[in-house]
Symmetry: C2
Subunit: 333 residues, 2 copies
């Protein structure tokens, strides 16, 4: 309760508040003797700078926002770990927002971030409406897109080539001899899901199959539970020879349901996931997947964002596009 302010420190050290502020923000500008006296006073009184006052006056905070689609998905957790590491190295705090795939919730989160006057926002957008993000930029908040290509040239973005990933995945399945392929996906409002589907279709075209023959099952969420439901559907409507899932969570659910129903993987059905989360390798039948540089995605995006914030004049906007890498395991032997 005993809130000790910069004024108290100043009085205690026998200097003016301005000097204390200087000690805090540009220690070089103050004579060593004075600095020591002030520092002693600070630790003596247990002073902690009031971030809000600082933000208010300085016009910007040392906080960034991170908005992801599903914090329960290890993919995003690992992105978040990368973000957190860089941010904390540079003394930034991270405000976390989980959009749960709902543009509404995402909007609410962005409003909270705007109110906090965060320095910048890292976002994996769940909808395709760039206007909301532009509004943030209108408030002087930098935006870096994560796992999403740039909406506009004067913006940074870090993404992974999902079309290529979808193509590689399905090409791999086709190479195993499968000719009927199902695609189990999350909501097709999510860009990643759509692009992986386009890649899948391209792969089918590549071997002379009709892209329209790709059987698409659209789940409402991208969880293991949804995957189990999708598998039940697949079984009910006749099993394909191959199943490609938009992420590993779905794939693990599909796998579990298939095995429970006595369908053998990979003998009866070959199966691929996407993201190569840690658990893909540990599952009953280890899961083939598309690996993405997840942690790096978070790190690099944060570095770009903070560079844009701290060096606005020298900063060059970048659009980085990684290529995913196929990891073949038992589920496609």
């Amino acid at each position: 309760m005993a809130m000790v302010s910069i004024k108290d420190v100043a009085a205690f050290a026998g200097v003016s508040p301005g000097t204390v502020s200087n000690v805090l923000n540009r220690p070089g500008k103050v004579a060593p003797a004075t600095r020591e006296r002030v520092e002693a006073a600070i630790s003596e009184l247990g002073f902690v700078r009031h971030g809000s006052a600082s933000t208010l006056r300085a016009g910007h905070s040392r906080t960034i926002g991170l908005s992801v689609i599903d914090i329960g998905n290890p993919f995003f957790t690992e992105v978040a770990a990368g973000v957190e590491d860089v941010a904390s190295e540079l003394g930034y705090a991270v405000i976390l927002g989980n959009s749960a795939g709902s543009p509404d919730k995402e909007d609410r989160n962005l409003r909270v971030l705007a109110e906090h006057r965060v320095r910048g926002v890292l976002i994996t957008p769940s909808g395709e409406d760039p206007a909301r993000l532009d509004r943030l930029r209108g408030h002087g908040i930098s935006v870096v897109l994560v796992d999403h290509p740039a909406h506009r040239p004067d913006q940074c973005a870090v993404a992974v080539d999902d079309v290529a990933g979808g193509r590689a995945a399905v090409a791999h399945l086709l190479a195993k001899g499968a000719r009927t392929v199902a695609y189990v996906t999350g909501p097709l409002t999510i860009r990643q899901c759509v692009e992986r589907r386009e890649g899948a279709k391209a792969a089918m075209r590549g071997v002379g199959l009709e892209p329209e023959d790709l059987r698409v099952y659209e789940a409402t969420t991208m969880t293991a539970r949804a995957g189990e439901k999708a598998a039940a559907d697949l079984i009910a409507h006749g099993l394909p020879e191959a199943v490609f899932c938009a992420n590993d969570l779905l794939a693990l659910g599909v796998l579990r349901a298939l095995l429970r129903s006595g369908v053998r993987v990979p003998e009866d059905v070959v199966l691929m996931g996407y993201d190569d989360i840690d658990f893909a390798a540990a599952s009953t039948v280890s899961l083939s997947s598309m690996r993405q540089p997840t942690y790096q995605l978070g790190r690099i995006a944060t570095e770009l964002l903070l560079d844009e914030c701290d060096n606005p004049d020298t900063h060059a906007h970048q659009h980085i596009m990684f290529q995913p890498e196929l990891v073949a395991r038992e589920s496609t032997q």
Copy 2:
């Protein structure tokens, strides 16, 4: 860049700034006609309240801090999901801190939270030094312990009985006929690891075995990789009949390494994890585990914290202790 303040809104609507503030904070106090005019001005100008200014003047923010030991662990992710849900329902933002098991990093995170003058902090402490937390309370920041019993009576805490969990887990292994038991744990600076060990010893005493015969392998991190290393060690020094791991990540790593070395689970070794993360059921040999009400842990802790903040007079501190539940799967058949 065009920062529009409450003043601009006031001018536009032809009222005083105070009235705009009233519209924002107690709409009841202002005449309907005026209110509408102000609301129109707000959306017309795209006004967003400056949270820092508000915090500064009001003396408290609508932000809470969440400090966890490992955001990469699905256990904590699910806690975080519960926290995020409640917080966002009540209009609070969540600042995330990952201590990575290091008290230093935790300290840094707590300092950031203190600077932000968060309303309260939810923390799974990684060290056993209550002093740092008391310092937060000294700044008027409420603290609720998550997955940890209370340090003091005037404090809320939500925990799960780890001694009982460890006892139940090892009792289950012993019931399967095992007589030599290894305990693969994370750093013994972590309370959970210690208490689960105590429970394990109690279980051994329960069947007339020497508690000292529990073979303890202390890994430096609680990850699958660390589990693999521990398994290699186990194999090198002679396999026990049962392995109890302090969490599922370790157990999955142990499982993977054992299987790769041709050790059969559960025929040669029975194995238990802890936490019952989603992936425990999906692994090669599905994993027996101790289930905890993870999401509820986050939800309830947050509800307690926000109740303490919003109703400081009627708030009653609570120490909640859940009991874990044994889930038997293939690894202990």
